[in-house]
Amino acid sequence: MRNYKKSLFYVVFLIIVSSILTACGDDGSSKAEGDTIKLGVLEDRSGDFALVGIQKSHAVELAVEEINDNGGLLGKQIEIVAPDTQSDDKRFQEMARKLILKDKVDVIMGAFSSASREAIRPIMEENKMLYFYNNQYEGGVASKYTFPTGAVPEHQVMTVMEYMIENYGSNVYTIAADYNFGQITADWVRMAAEDLGGKIVGEEFIPLGESQFNSSINKIQKAKPDFLIVLLTGEKQSSFYEQWNTQGIKDLPMATTINMAQQYEHIRSEAPALAHMHVAAPFMEEMDTPEAKEFVEKFRKKFPDDDYVGMEAEAQYTGVNLWAKAVEQAGTTDVDKVIAELENGLSWEAPSGKVTIDPKSHHAVKDVYLFYADENHKISTLYKWDQVEPFWLHEEKGIDLTQDSPNQQYTPID
């Protein structure tokens, strides 16, 4: 009997505690409709992708703070609605629906992994919600409501391959993550190698989450390539560099499209693990232009504890500003009118240089730099490609989103 009362007491206690905790967490969406413009953000601030998600959330905060300090948008303040999606695709779906149906946001930005983007894209289309995916990815998304403003293989693969083959030789070895991004980007590498007279001497795909690269490194040593393309991603796979450093071929040039610029492996691993690494990207923290320096300074001032300001943070910051400019020009947050403005070839002077929306593919035209890390992981800029166009969807697949939208993702593997 006494035992019973005790556990009943505990149960009541537990319920009270958890409801208090829940109540504490449940605020923010209580403001009245109409006096603010709502910007929904879906980023992973915990779980596997927190490394980039935290940076991207901070980038939105920075951009919105600046806009609000300059008098807001259409005379209204921008309000951020940002649940934590916890690196979970199901959570992305729940939260996308909540942002649209309950919070009635005016635009949604976010998603890091391609899987989470694909999870929410149909929800955006179903509800006619403007969606910015400000992230580097494998390319190919053609959807009326989606604006992937990050870098795609046209920006990164064609450029870096051109430089590498010209400077180091034609034998290429690719080691890539075994999922959509890795496989599709590896296809691009193959296509680029064919076009540029290179030769693929080896190719290996590593399952996500794999952290032991012994046998892969042995294979690379046997193949003796002129340079190595690394398309590994995620926290586990970045262990490749540590292991390559002790066992791999000394001084072999490497190239990538995501490492360093996105997940700052050159900061996370001790030199010289990423010596001789090349990456073609629109932005890195070490970039040496006045605009980039100013952006990094502002970011660092607001978030002094962040480890790095990477290309996705810059893309996110640019995405928010592109949208704000379109809203300003359209004079409304009405989705169709904002899209019409964006499809007008809208451009903005981003920290990485001029960024223009390509109307036909909704992707971005942007400057691309070739960054290089030396033995001490000091970054230098080797080359710059001006205003690289995302040509592939339009030229190869005949997509013109101003006319008609297929709402799907195309892949070069077909």
């Binding site: 935290i54 399952p207 989450g209 042995n218 926290e235 586990k236 540590e242 791999g248 001790e270 480890d307």
Partner: protein, 283 residues
């Protein structure tokens, strides 16, 4: 050989806890992660590498002791409830580390460099890992077979009630087991922290492999784990080398399924049917 040491090292802490207590420690990966953090941080503070590794092990051991006193102690004999509790612990540890230390930490690079056989480079450090794995197995064998602790723990493992009635403090045995298991997890984290990048999800890379190894091994933390680590290691490294990492990983899992089907109580059941009784986890 490398695959063998990875499997053995990642499994051994979990194996001790599972074999002795029947507790499936879902926070095992996070324990490994904690060991890696302690080792890396002490290394960055200037502590020599071997001492840093030992510090990592001891640190996680102390942490394991606290966790045992606060939580696990209340769940002795309720293995399915400890699944919930350790899942909760893993959530708290993973996210707590993210809050405390941020999403990344620069670790020191792999010590000792490499040597070359037939034009292919091998890491000297990883060779040492393999040796350490073997040494640990020997050490464990000695502890279990030649010390009082080993005798008592084997007794507890076989029949808790009789062991207790014969004067073994089984509750104390469980605490000790949990601490020793945690120390091994911390050691694993410390050893591998030099070959991998450090972050709050460091440990999840070990989780799947350690589970498979431990359960295929069966209830005996020593013989079972060594046998299954050895066999699965050979399967995994041979398949990854010939067909690539994807087939290697799938092959590891399929091999585990087949082994269990052939010997439904794991390797230790196969070997020591008479000596050891497989603990029921659904009691």
């Amino acid at each position: 050989m490398d695959s063998f040491s990875f499997l053995i090292l990642s499994a051994i802490g979990l194996a001790i806890i599972f074999g002795m207590m029947g507790v499936i420690n879902l926070a095992h990966g996070e324990f490994i992660m904690l060991g890696a953090y302690i080792t890396t941080l002490s290394c960055l503070a200037g502590v020599p590498i071997p001492i840093a590794i030992i510090l990592g092990s001891i640190g996680v051991g102390i942490f394991g002791f606290i966790v045992d006193k606060l939580i696990i102690r209340h769940l002795y004999g309720r293995p399915q409830d400890s699944v919930v509790a350790t899942w909760g612990i893993s959530l708290i540890m993973g996210q707590g580390m993210l809050i405390l230390m941020g999403p990344s930490l620069q670790g020191p690079s792999t010590p000792l460099g490499s040597f070359s056989v037939g034009g292919i480079n091998y890491s000297l450090y990883r060779l040492i890992l393999t040796i350490i794995a073997c040494l640990l197995v020997v050490l464990l064998y000695w502890v279990f077979m030649h010390t009082k602790f080993g005798l008592r723990s084997r007794a507890t493992m076989q029949n808790e009630e009789i062991a207790r009635s014969l004067g073994t403090n089984t509750s104390q045995m469980y605490t000790l087991t949990f601490v020793v298991g945690s120390m091994f997890a911390g050691l694993t984290g410390g050893l591998f922290s030099f070959t991998m990048t450090i972050g709050p999800t460091f440990g999840t890379g070990f989780l799947m492999e350690s589970f498979v190894t431990v359960i295929v091994g069966g209830a005996n933390p020593l013989i079972g784990t060594v046998m299954s680590g050895g066999t699965l290691g050979i399967v995994h490294s041979a398949l990854s080398y010939i067909f690539g990492t994807f087939i290697g990983r799938v092959g590891l899992l399929v091999a585990a399924i087949i082994f269990i089907r052939l010997w439904p109580t794991g390797f230790s059941g196969l070997l020591e049917k008479k000596i050891l009784r497989v603990k029921k986890t659904n009691g």
